[in-house]
Amino acid sequence: MPTPTEHGRSDPETTTLARSRDGRPVSDRGDTVCVIGAGASGLTAVKNLAEHGFGVDCYERETGIGGAWNWRHDRSPVYASTHLISSRPFTQFPDFPMPDHWPDYPHHSQLLSYFERYADHFDLRRHVWFGTEVVRVEPASEERWDVTTRSTGGYGPERTSRYAAVMIANGHNWSPKLPRYEGLEQFRGEVMHASSYKDPAQLRGKRVLVVGAGNTGCDIAVEAAQQASRCWHSTRRGYWYAPKYVFGRPADQVNDTLLALRVPLRVRQWLYHRTLRLTVGDLTRFGLPKPDHRVYETHPIANSQLVYYVGHGAIAPVPDVGRFHPHSVELADGRQIDPDVVVFATGYLPRFEFLDAKILGDDDGVGRPRLWLNAFVPDHPTLAVAGLVQPDSGLFPLSHWQAVLFARLLRSRTTAPQRAGAFAARVRSGAGERYAGQVKDSTRHWFEVGHADYLRALERALRELEGQ
């Protein structure tokens, strides 16, 4: 059992000074674990590491908690109307439920207040260094890590602390992914990425083209349908637009009833197609392309309103964008449309600019780490990533269990080294494993997991580590 250092807050300057590889002074934080980011995944990492007896220092570049879900943060992608896509039981931390009188799909401001209460309830803020960004994370001797930080924005001196382990929770929905199109630079209309879309007032009275059929793209298309004078919605392929409610219950709860019954994937897909055909109907009638894949093979879209507004003629479904002209957009089928505003809801890519890409197994530098359980790094047993998953359900329970597993792994390195060794071998052999059925190959699905498959794999790993 490692001895916890007293409450993360003790001044790093007072501990013994070591030297980094290139001779800079390093304050040694002993057995303390470093967590990068105080968003949802970072908070649960802090909470679970502290609960397992570790001292924790958490660095957060913003001045508040909540990461992406705190709309005050400049990197937050939420817009005024953001509501959860997965219902409460799949979204809350497993050991800290949301109030049961909240709606099935809470608003983002409720989610932030939930994280605030989580942080207060477990007294997490005393571990967090706010307004501090991580500049570099470098391996030091004995599988320890040198973490260099400075004030957000680059003010003040850098300082380096040495930690027994690092859990990265910097999020993967803040660095916009913008597709390249011929002629986009010459386009005279307004172009924005969904990350800078905040409020429907931005669309009011305008002619809007929304590109992308993720959950964000569909939300924005629906808002444009209500506010803009015209709305085109451009998608690469046909999708399955699942309603948020089926049979009067949140759709994911109905789906998990089937999962709990262990109904095989093919049968579930058949039932799902059948239900959609009966409730949503045949979408090709509206001019939407027919899906070229089965349901569960792309990230699920939960939006009851999109089809409704297509039916009202308020959303015109169009194919992929071909190229841009100064005053118009040419679609893949040769049609020309003339939007004032183009919103790219084309997603985000993960970024670990403070870490050598090779450490996470991203040898080609494309930004796709090679990990086991999307969290554990081959040959670096004291490094893990939290929340780098795109589940077909809520993310936070997955982050919670990743943090629990990492805490128990760190503990077992002293209490049961042979099991920690077996775990390391498992990480090496299993790196890159997928936890979903077949999915479409696209950056959007790099981290796609089926929540049940993933949590079962994680449960097995936990039990193996505990020798059960």
């Binding site: 502290a50 049961d100 709990a260 059960q468």
Partner: protein, 272 residues
């Protein structure tokens, strides 16, 4: 008790417990001293009133904020004739998670079983099981021997009737005893059944310290059951001879609550 970590709870996600309006009685100390809040969970038939009588005020007077919840269908909470043990544990976790900091859960009687289930879903700072009825057929046997006419109807879906002499010692004035027994309600039929046939609680999360206490003269929970319950959590029970099952209402209610608070002061709980 199984020690396997439970990650998958597909049924619980697919079928969330229905929300109800819950009665929570609270007494907070005049001076906030940074001590953990206590959440008292009454046993079957009892409501938050059982703690409001003596323990809440005393706990607050010693500097801890004290809260008592009435499980659904009990006391001032909404009626819930179809409630299960899971719904009761849900009530406890909901109230605990709504408190400003990590709570100590105190369960009495079958409320201790509810607390044991809640511990698998909420990392309490510590837990106290007072005269715990942890279920199983042995509990049923003991109850049947001591109070056949009160227990038998419960088997057929009736209410479990507890007599004055089971709940209180002879030291408690008859008028008080009668007043308390008149307030007793009943637990839901399904929850009563689950007391006998339900699954064992899953392991507690966050490894909280657990204290078991009771009375060797309790006519609901035999001393052997107390020892068994304490052994489950790796300790020995703290005994208060001469008291009935309802330690928080009996004449000498002060001794057990002081013992609990002393234990909490000495044992602040680890982590977070």
């Amino acid at each position: 008790m199984s020690e396997r970590v439970q990650v998958m709870r597909g049924w619980e996600w697919a079928r969330p417990v229905r929300p109800v309006r819950r009665e929570v009685l609270s007494v907070t100390p005049q001076l906030e001293e940074g001590r953990p809040p206590l959440l008292f969970v009454p046993g079957f038939g009892h409501g938050a009133w059982a703690y409001a009588e003596n323990w809440l005020g005393h706990t607050a007077a010693r500097g801890f904020s004290a809260h008592a919840v009435s499980l659904r269908g009990h006391g001032g909470s909404d009626p819930a004739p179809e409630a299960t043990l899971r719904a009761y544990a849900h009530d406890v976790v909901q109230v605990a998670a709504g408190l400003p900091s990590r709570a100590v859960l105190v369960g009495h009687g079958a409320g201790a079983l509810v607390v044991a289930h809640a511990l698998a879903r909420y990392p309490a700072r510590a837990a106290v099981l007072v005269a715990p009825v942890l279920g199983g057929w042995a509990t049923f046997g003991a109850a049947l021997r001591r109070n056949p006419f009160g227990t038998l109807p419960a088997v057929f879906g009736g209410g479990l009737r507890l007599s004055r002499r089971q709940l209180f010692s002879r030291e408690l004035p008859d008028a008080d005893a009668r007043r308390h027994t008149a307030r007793l309600g009943r637990a839901a039929r399904r929850a009563q059944w689950q007391l006998l046939t339900g699954a064992d609680p899953e392991p507690a999360v966050g490894s909280p310290p657990v204290l078991v206490l009771g009375s060797p003269d309790d006519r609901v929970v035999p001393a052997s059951a107390l020892t068994r319950a304490a052994r489950r959590y790796g300790s020995a029970p703290l005994l208060f001879p001469g008291m009935g099952h309802d330690l928080m209402l009996d004449a000498r209610w002060r001794e057990p609550i002081d013992a609990i608070l002393d234990w909490l002061v000495k044992n602040p709980g680890r982590g977070g």
